[in-house]
Each structure stands twice: as structure tokens, then as C-alpha cells.
């Protein structure tokens, strides 16, 4: 535990590290190689790196065509543009034919910071998740990202993965028996009163929230749900049954993302109080990343407050 590295940095390095191992791997960029960190692959393997200019829709289509010839393309941009601008190309040219293209969305969420709302994509989880057959990932730290990259290369089919801009503490490297598997969440800390199901860098916040809750006598379980779709139903149901209250936490709109996925499952299979922590259906704003996150309540304290709300609801205390 400890090393701080941005998941985009870990992603770029992991991709470059396996360039020789996977000769069918090809990487596409839209003029953001130094930001999405595809630059590492570019340096390692220039002959399989293609900068398509600022043209995300075309990039996705070109990658789709190339995948039909046996290549395994990873396409890169900011989440706002790979998931947002190119959404329809992702749907119709990649997902409908079921092609093996990996859509990478860097700089997801509010932690983009200074660039402001136009570049702070809080909708990617929702809009990628609703496409039939799509897999949606967001690893929480560098160690997990490294393994997610290779898992994605070996996964045959369309997938979206969000990367974060900020350096974040590595928390998964010390988990005994840790094994990354698409669609399988990981219990990072056990607890009995409430489960915090988090994704991305909210996982680290959730671990801190659990410490804050501990001081208040609340035992919180923390789950790293690196795969939003397909959701690890078994684990979510187990947590609902064992702790009776759930908080979901994501650096995204509370509508349509992880919180929605968990709520949809539990409302049908095992209703318990679910409180969604995230961005409350509003656009972000410019500012230093920590200040922006603070302004929108995307903090350990914000999660702890939601956890207390969930525990109160479990006890039957619903506010009128």
C-alpha cells in the first residue's frame, strides 16, 4: 500500500509493457497521447500506434474495421469524447456487430479539475452501460489497472474503461489473494453494518470513510466494484443480505451509473436501503481537482454521511 500513481499512467505503461507479447494489439489516439498516456505505447511500438487527429468518431470506426481483420484495437481519448462524442459510433460500429474494440476514456469525472464542465465527463458510466453487450470498467488504482489492461486484451468483445487523471494511492496490492477478474468485485475491508460499493478513486475515499465510521461505532464493509457491467450480482446480493444497507459511490452522476446498477438489482432481487453517493445531477465546474471534489461532496466525509443515512434507513428512519 502506498505508491501514488494515476490510473492513466499505469494504463499507458501496462499497455507498452505488453506491446511485444500481443502483436495484434493496436493503439489509436486522438491528439492526446501525453494525457491519456498512450504515449508510452507510441514510444514502445510506433508501428502499431495511430494518431487519428481530433476525430473521435472516425477513430472508433477505423478501429472497428481493423478489428475485423484480427487486430485488437484500444482507442483513446478523454471520456467526454470517446464515450460521449463517439457514442453512436461505439454503439453502431462496435457494439452492434460485437467487435473486439476497447474504448478508453481518460480524465473521467470531476477530478479533471481546472478544465471545467465541458471536459468533466460524469455520464460515461451511464451511457456506456446502456449499450447492449457492453462491458464497463473503472479500476481504482495503478496495481489494479495493470491487471485490467491485460484482462481487457484477452477479453474478446466490446468494452469501455475509464481512467483517472489524478495520482491515487495504491490500495489493492496488499489484499491477500487479490485476483483481477472482469465482473468480480473485491471486498477490500469487511464490515457488518453497511456496505460501501465504490468504483474508481472513490474506493480509496470509501476506505477512509470506513475509518471515520469506525470511530462512530459503525462497521462498514468496502467493496471495490471495478466492473460496473456486468455487475457482480452475487457479491452485491451477499452484501445486501449480510449488512442490510448499501451505499454506492462514484465520481459520476448518481443517475445511470454504479448506483443505478446496484439499485436496479436490489429493488428486484433483495430490497434493502440503497443510498447513492456521487454527483447529484449537475454539471461540474473549474477549480483545483481536490477543491472541485470537495465542492461536490465527493470526499470520504461525503461517503460517511451517506453511510449513516443508509444505516438510519435500515433502522426504519426514512426522512419524510
Amino acid at each position: 500500500m502506498g505508491e501514488k500513481i494515476a490510473t492513466r499512467e499505469a494504463y499507458g505503461k501496462a499497455l507498452a509493457a505488453v506491446a511485444d507479447k500481443y502483436p495484434e494489439l493496436v493503439v489509436f489516439e486522438t491528439d492526446l497521447a501525453g494525457a491519456t498516456m498512450s504515449k508510452y505505447f507510441q514510444a514502445a511500438c510506433p508501428e502499431r500506434f495511430f494518431d487519428m487527429g481530433i476525430a473521435e468518431g472516425d477513430m472508433v470506426g477505423v478501429a472497428a474495421g481493423m478489428s475485423t481483420c484480427g487486430f485488437k484495437p484500444f482507442v483513446n481519448s478523454f471520456a467526454m469524447f470517446s464515450a460521449g462524442r463517439a457514442w453512436e459510433q461505439v454503439r453502431n460500429s462496435v457494439c452492434y456487430p460485437g467487435l473486439n474494440v476497447k474504448i478508453i476514456g481518460s480524465h473521467g469525472g470531476l477530478s479533471v479539475g481546472e478544465d471545467g464542465a465541458t471536459h468533466q465527463c460524469i455520464e460515461d458510466f451511464a451511457i456506456m452501460r446502456v449499450i447492449p453487450g457492453m462491458t464497463v470498467l473503472c479500476p481504482c488504482d495503478g496495481y489494479e489497472m495493470q491487471q485490467a489492461v491485460e484482462a481487457l486484451i484477452n477479453y474478446d468483445g466490446p468494452a469501455y474503461m475509464r481512467l483517472g487523471r489524478l495520482a491515487v494511492e495504491t490500495v489493492t496490492d496488499t489484499i491477500p489473494g487479490y485476483k483481477f477478474e472482469i465482473g468480480k468485485g473485491i471486498v477490500l475491508k469487511d464490515g457488518t453494518d453497511v456496505t460501501i460499493i465504490a468504483v474508481g478513486m472513490n474506493v480509496q475515499m470509501a476506505l477512509k470513510a470506513a475509518e471515520l465510521l469506525e470511530a462512530d461505532g459503525i462497521s462498514a464493509r468496502v467493496v471495490d466494484m471495478h466492473t460496473i457491467k456486468p455487475l457482480d450480482k452475487e457479491l452485491v446480493l451477499k452484501c445486501a443480505k449480510e449488512t442490510g444497507a448499501i451505499v454506492t459511490s462514484e465520481e459520476a452522476n448518481v443517475i445511470g451509473g454504479l448506483g443505478a446498477a446496484v439499485s436496479e438489482l436490489l429493488s428486484e432481487e433483495y430490497p434493502v436501503p440503497v443510498v447513492r453517493h456521487g454527483v447529484n445531477d449537475e454539471f461540474g465546474r473549474s477549480g483545483k481537482a481536490p477543491a472541485v471534489l470537495e465542492a461536490f461532496g465527493i470526499t470520504a466525509e461525503g461517503i460517511a454521511a451517506k453511510a449513516k443515512e443508509a444505516v438510519a434507513k435500515k433502522a426504519g428512519q426514512f426522512s419524510k
Binding site: 487527429g53 472516425d58 477505423v62 474495421g65 481493423m66 475485423t68 481483420c69
Partner: protein
């Protein structure tokens, strides 16, 4: 294959196209009939494909970027032998896999699913780029509509094909001059097409899209052009081959009723009979 035989295959494809749209009571006859000659030329003369091995990795590829022209693609593939002509009966049916727009998953011979305009040409660029990276000498062909090229993505794809000098890529614009809302010149003027594509780094060839000698010369010139992709601007007639559909925007996406179908069928059968005679 000589010109007469190509004309015969094209006439058969036209009859199948009109039949499947009539039977499905929906579909897009106009633009399908305008590009059927080019498509027939590609599959019966130009392209290196193997109907017994549709996924052969060294095959030439084709992308129908204007995916609504499935009534051109499916009949030509059936006549070529990729699947039985009887399968065309399943067009647009809930109990079949022959979707309204061109669909690769269940139809042998289809190299890419298309339908959303402007996207197919990017996938063709990707296939051509793949050929360059893997040092294979297959060629990639695409057909676009002249209404379709209003999509911005088309021009993104043009730039990419120029950047990577994709001389293994040859696209054709089916210049029939009409789209759903009327004349292309009125809906969104795109001329001068030749200068536009040239400015984007493509070699441009003009041809008569209903004359097999003219198509042959254009595709030959494309194959001989090195260091840049080729765009064929094929002048065509929307609804070509069915008298009452010719040059009528209204037949873009409408099925003939029984009476109209009988007329169309008689016209096309007469052409087939003459060519067979």
C-alpha cells in the same frame, strides 16, 4: 466475365431487390438500384473473394457505407453464391436474420454491419490500414451515397486515408443526385465533389455508374494508383431499371404495392429474357 453477363447478373439482382422490398413491404429500392451495377462489377469481376470461405483472411473486403442499400448487397451476395437466393425471403422479417440494414453477423459475405451513415467508410479505412500493417495485398472497396457525404465523419475518414496513403482503398460515391428530402443540391449542396476529394488527398476518377466498361476503366485506374486512395464518382440514376422509380426521390425508402411490383417485375424480366436470349 463479359459485359453481357455482368448486365444479366445486375438485372437478376435488380429483380431480387425489388422483389424483397415488395415482399417485406418496406426497404430502400431507389439507392439500391442505382448502385447495383457497381456492386455487380465488384463481386463478379473485381474482387478476390471465396464464397466457400467468406472469412478468408486474404480476401478483398467490401463495405456498403450507405447500409440502407441492403437490397443491393444481399441479392449480389446471393447470386455470387455466398448463400441461397431463397434466403432473401427472410429480409426484414422477425423470424430471420436479414436485417433492414446491412448486417455482418449472420449473413456470409458481409464484411461490415452498417446503417448509420458516415460510419462505414471509417471501417473501410480501418480494414485498409490493417492490410498495410499486416503487409497483406488485399484491397478494400466501399460505396457511399452522395447524400451520405454530408456526414462530417466521412471527411474525417478522408483525412485518415490520406495520412496513411491507403492506395489499397477504393471508395465509390453513388452520385444519383437525390436523397430522402429531394435533390442533394437542394438539401445540402456537396459539389464540386471532385475538387473536395482531391483537396483531401484522394485520386478522383469519374465514371458512368451504369456502364461496365466505364466502371472497369475506373477500377483499373484505382488499382494502378499508388501512394493515395482512389475515389470513384459514379454518375447514376436513382431507381435505375424500373421505369417509374427512375429519378424519383420518393422511391428512396418506399416499397412498391402489388400493382407497381407487377410492372417492375415485367420490365426486369424482359431485360433478363433479352440478355439470356
Amino acid at each position: 466475365m463479359d459485359k453481357k453477363m455482368l448486365s444479366l447478373e445486375a438485372a437478376k439482382a435488380r429483380l431480387l431487390a425489388v422483389t424483397m422490398v415488395h415482399d417485406a413491404a418496406s426497404g430502400h429500392p431507389g439507392g439500391s438500384l442505382s448502385c447495383i451495377d457497381a456492386l455487380t462489377y465488384l463481386y463478379f469481376e473485381e474482387m478476390n473473394v471465396d464464397v466457400k470461405n467468406p472469412h478468408w483472411e486474404d480476401r478483398d473486403r467490401f463495405v456498403m457505407s450507405k447500409g440502407h442499400c441492403s437490397p443491393a448487397v444481399y441479392p449480389v451476395l446471393a447470386l455470387k453464391g455466398f448463400f441461397p437466393v431463397e434466403d432473401l425471403k427472410m429480409f426484414r422479417r422477425i423470424d430471420g436474420h436479414m436485417s433492414g440494414h446491412v448486417e455482418m453477423k449472420y449473413n456470409p459475405g458481409v464484411d461490415m454491419s452498417t446503417g448509420s451513415l458516415g460510419q462505414g467508410i471509417s471501417t473501410a479505412v480501418g480494414m485498409a490500414l490493417a492490410g498495410k500493417v499486416s503487409k497483406k495485398d488485399y484491397r478494400v472497396y466501399a460505396i457511399m451515397g452522395d447524400g451520405e457525404i454530408a456526414e462530417g465523419q466521412v471527411w474525417e475518414a478522408m483525412m485518415a486515408a490520406n495520412k496513411y496513403k491507403l492506395d489499397n482503398l477504393c471508395a465509390l460515391v453513388d452520385v444519383n443526385g437525390l436523397q430522402i428530402d429531394g435533390k442533394t443540391a437542394d438539401v445540402m449542396p456537396t459539389e464540386p465533389l471532385d475538387k473536395k476529394f482531391e483537396a483531401f488527398g484522394w485520386h478522383v476518377v469519374k465514371c458512368d455508374g451504369h456502364d461496365f466498361d466505364s466502371l472497369a476503366a475506373a477500377y483499373k485506374e484505382a488499382k494502378e494508383t499508388k501512394g493515395q486512395p482512389t475515389m470513384i464518382l459514379a454518375k447514376t440514376v436513382k431507381g435505375k431499371g424500373v421505369s417509374f422509380m427512375e429519378n424519383q426521390a420518393g422511391w428512396h425508402g418506399k416499397a412498391p404495392n402489388d400493382e407497381q411490383f407487377a410492372v417492375a417485375k415485367a420490365e426486369l424480366e424482359a431485360v433478363i429474357k433479352e440478355l439470356e436470349g
